[in-house]
Symmetry: C2
Subunit: 407 residues, 2 copies
C-alpha cells in the first residue's frame, strides 16, 4: 500500500551530473541494484549521515572521504540488496575495494568515491559482483538518467521518489534535482538512507553543508515510520557550478529563494518516503504548537507519531482521540497542564483545553479520519514554539512486510 | 494469542480482605465489570500511579483520597469498560458519585473509597449503572473471591493474572496475594493499570509505600508491550495486619524474605501481563549489562524492546540480529563504542565486540528464535550497570486487535 499519487513530474538533468543504474546481482537477479552518479570536476559535495552508533562501513568511509577532501568528490557508488552494516573490519575492506575499483576505471583517487549501501544488515557485501558491474555502469552514464537511478536505489519501496525545481537567478536557470528511497526503518537522525540531490549552482563546501543541514532538519529529520533509525542513512547534495552562478554572488532575496527551493525538494523527497511507507494507508501530518520549546513540541509530535495505538487507530480510520491524548500525556513534557491542551483533526476541534469539544461529534471526526491525508493539530497552550512531523499508520501489512523481509 | 501457560496456581485469601465482582453493564452486557475490594479497618494501603500527564479522573481522586487519609482506605471500587479518562471536570464528578454511593451503603467516609476505571478513553462514565450494582456487590463480598475479581478487571486480556506467596514469619503464616490486568497500552511508568495486592502482615504507611515502590520499580516498571503508557495505571498494596505480625518486629533476614516474596508476586503479575500481551506469540527477556549507568542500560533495553522491526522479526522467528544492533545503535547512549558491544540469543553468541560471532550459524540462531520464550542479552562492554525488561512481539493480530478495539 501507499498513499498519494506518486507523481512527482519530470526529473531534469543537472549540468555536471551523469548517472547510470545496472544489474549486478547483489542479492536478487534481474534487478538494477547498482547506481553510479558521476559529479563533474570542480563540484562541491555536502553530506549528512545517520547518528546510529552502529553506522555501516560505507557510511563511515563516505564521511571520511568527503571530510578528507573538503567537499571534493567525483562519484557516488550506491548498491541495494546489502547494507554492509554490522560487518566489522571486513565491511570496510569490501567498501574500499569497491571505491578502489571504480577509481581505477574512472581515473580518479579512491577517496573521491563515496560508497553507499542499503539492504540486509549483517551479511558480507559481495564486492566482486559490484566491481564486475562497474565497467558497464560507467559506459552507461547519462545526464538524463535520474529516474532510472531513482528506481535503482529502491528496496521495499513501491515507487521511485524525486523532484526537480528550477529557478532564475542572476539571469541564469538554476536546477535542483533530487531522488530518495526509504519505506521502513525510518526515523532519520540527520538524514535518511538514501537521498541524492544536485544543483548546478556554485556553492562552496562550508556553505553547501550549512544549506544541506538546514534543509534536512526540516525535512528528513521530521519524518518517522516506525521510530527505527537506519544504520545506513545518508543524504548527499552536490553543487556542480555549471549554471555559471555562485551562491555567494546572490542577493539576499535570491539566496532565500534558492534555500526555499532546496528545502522544497528535500521536504518533498521526505514526504514521498512517508507516502510510500511500508503498509501505509494514511499520510499523517502532526502539527504541535503552543510549546515552550521546539524540543518539547518534537517530543509530543514523535510520541503521537510513533504510538502503536494511535497508528492502529489511524489504520482503522477511528477518530480515537483518547489515544492521542494518552500519547501527549506520556511524552514527558515537564509540568504539562492538560487543561491547556487542545487537539484538532484537520479543522474539526476534538479537545479544547483538556476536554472533549462541545461541538465535536463522532460523525465530524469520522469524516476526517476517512480521508487518506489527515492533519492532527495539538496546541499545548503554554508558549510560542511549534514543530511539524509526518508519519504513516501501522497496518497488518507493515507487520507482514517486516516479518518476511530480512532488512 | 498469548504465551506461557497462564497457570498461576491457587489464589489464597488474605485475612481482612473480601472481594466481589458483579455485572453492571458499564459497556457490555453479561460481563462482570465492577469489582469491589473491602479492606478491613485498621489496614494500611499504599499505591503508585501512572505518570501520564493525562491521568484519568479516578486516578487523581484515588491518589488524593489515600494521601488525605495517610494510607487509610476501606474500599477499592474498580470498573472496566470505561476509563473515565479525558473526561474533564465531569469525570471527577462521576468518580466521586461512585465513591459517595459506596460509602453510604457501607457506612464509611467517601474519602475511604478509592475509585479505579479501565476501558475506553474519552467517554462519560455511566456512574448510575455502577452505583445501581453496588448493593449486590456488597452482599456478595467473600474472602475467597480473588480469582473472580481477577477475571472481573480484565479488558482485552485473554486470561486472569494472579499469584499467592505465603511465608512463615515469627511463627505465623503471612500471605501475599495479588491480581493484575493489562495487555495493551503497556509501558507502565510507576505502575500499570491494574494491580491489586494484599498481605496480612502489619506494615505502616510509609514503610508500605517504600516496599511497594521498590517492588514496582523491578516489575511493572520493567515491562513494555507497545511503549504506550496508560492514562489509568495504578498498582495498590494493602496490609491488613490480620496475621498478627508487624513488619517492624521482623529480623533483617525476615524483612528481606518478605521483600523478596512481595517482589516475586509483583514480578509475576507483570510477567503475566507480557505473556498475555495483545497478539503475543513470544515472551522476550532483554538483559542489558556492561553499561556505565542503569539509565543507559534501560535506554538500550527499551529501544530494542519497542523497535517495531525487532518485534516483527520476533513474530517471524527471524534471528535478525542486524535489527537488534540498529536499535542498540540508535538508543542514544553517549559515545557508545560499537566494537565493545556483544549480543547473545539465549546461550548462542550472535555478536562479539561489534562483529558477527565466528561460532554463529543461522541454524543456531534459528533454533533459539523458534522458542516461545527468548532472552536477548546485550553487553555494552563499558561498565558494571545492568537492567532487565520484558516484552512481547508485534504481530498482525496486535494490529487487528487495536484497529478494532476502541481503547
Amino acid at each position: 500500500m501507499a498513499t498519494g499519487t506518486g507523481d512527482f513530474g519530470v526529473l531534469s538533468a543537472v549540468e555536471g551530473i551523469r548517472l547510470s543504474s545496472v544489474e549486478a546481482g547483489v542479492r536478487y537477479q534481474n534487478r538494477r541494484d547498482v547506481v553510479v552518479v558521476e559529479i563533474a570536476e570542480g563540484s562541491t559535495v555536502a553530506g549528512v549521515y545517520t547518528l546510529n552508533a552502529f553506522c555501516a562501513a560505507p557510511v563511515k568511509i563516505a564521511r571520511q572521504h568527503l571530510s578528507d577532501n573538503q567537499g571534493k568528490c567525483r562519484y557516488w557508488l550506491i548498491n541495494t540488496g546489502n547494507a554492509n552494516a554490522g560487518t566489522g573490519k571486513q565491511g570496510a575492506v569490501d567498501a574500499l575495494a569497491c571505491c578502489q575499483s571504480l577509481a581505477e576505471l574512472a581515473g580518479c583517487d579512491p577517496s573521491e568515491v563515496m560508497p553507499f549501501s542499503t539492504g540486509v544488515i549483517g551479511e558480507r557485501l559481495p564486492a566482486g559482483r559490484i566491481t564486475a558491474a562497474l565497467p558497464g555502469a560507467l559506459e552507461q552514464l547519462q545526464p538524463d538518467n535520474w529516474l532510472s537511478a531513482a528506481k535503482g536505489i529502491l528496496t521495499t519501496d513501491t515507487r521511485p521518489k524525486g523532484l526537480t525545481r528550477t529557478l532564475q537567478l542572476n539571469g541564469r536557470t538554476v536546477t535542483i534535482t533530487g531522488i530518495s528511497k526509504g519505506a521502513g526503518m525510518i526515523k532519520p537522525n540527520m538524514a535518511t538512507m538514501l537521498a541524492y540531490v544536485a544543483t548546478d549552482l556554485s556553492v562552496d563546501y562550508a556553505q553547501l553543508q550549512a544549506l544541506l543541514s538546514d534543509a534536512v532538519s526540516q525535512s528528513f529529520n521530521r519524518i518517522t515510520v516506525d521510530g527505527d533509525t537506519s544504520t545506513n542513512d545518508c543524504c548527499m547534495l552536490a553543487a556542480t557550478g555549471r549554471a555559471g552562478v555562485a551562491f555567494t554572488e546572490l542577493s539576499d532575496s535570491d539566496k532565500a529563494q534558492f534555500r526555499g527551493a532546496l528545502n522544497e525538494v528535500l521536504q518533498s523527497l521526505a514526504i514521498q518516503i512517508i507516502e510510500d511507507a511500508e503498509g501505509a494507508s494514511k499520510f499523517v501530518t502532526i502539527d504541535v504548537s503552543g510549546g515552550e520549546t521546539s524540543k518539547e513540541c518534537l517530543q509530543v509530535a514523535y510520541a503521537v507519531a510513533e504510538s502503536p495505538l494511535v497508528k492502529t487507530a489511524l489504520t482503522a480510520s477511528d477518530p480515537n482521540w483518547g489515544r492521542i491524548l494518552a500519547a501527549v500525556g506520556r511524552a514527558g513534557v515537564p509540568a504539562l497542564d492538560v487543561d491547556s491542551v487542545s487537539v484538532s483533526l484537520d479543522a474539526v476541534p476534538l479537545v479544547e483545553r483538556g476536554q472533549l469539544s462541545a461541538d465535536y461529534s463522532e460523525e465530524k471526526g469520522q469524516a476526517v479520519m476517512n480521508q487518506e491525508a489527515i492533519t492532527i493539530s495539538i496546541d499545548l497552550g503554554r508558549g510560542d514554539a511549534k514543530e511539524r512531523v509526518w508519519t504513516s499508520d501501522l497496518s497488518e501489512e507493515y507487520v507482514r512486510i517486516n516479518a518476511s523481509y530480512r532488512s
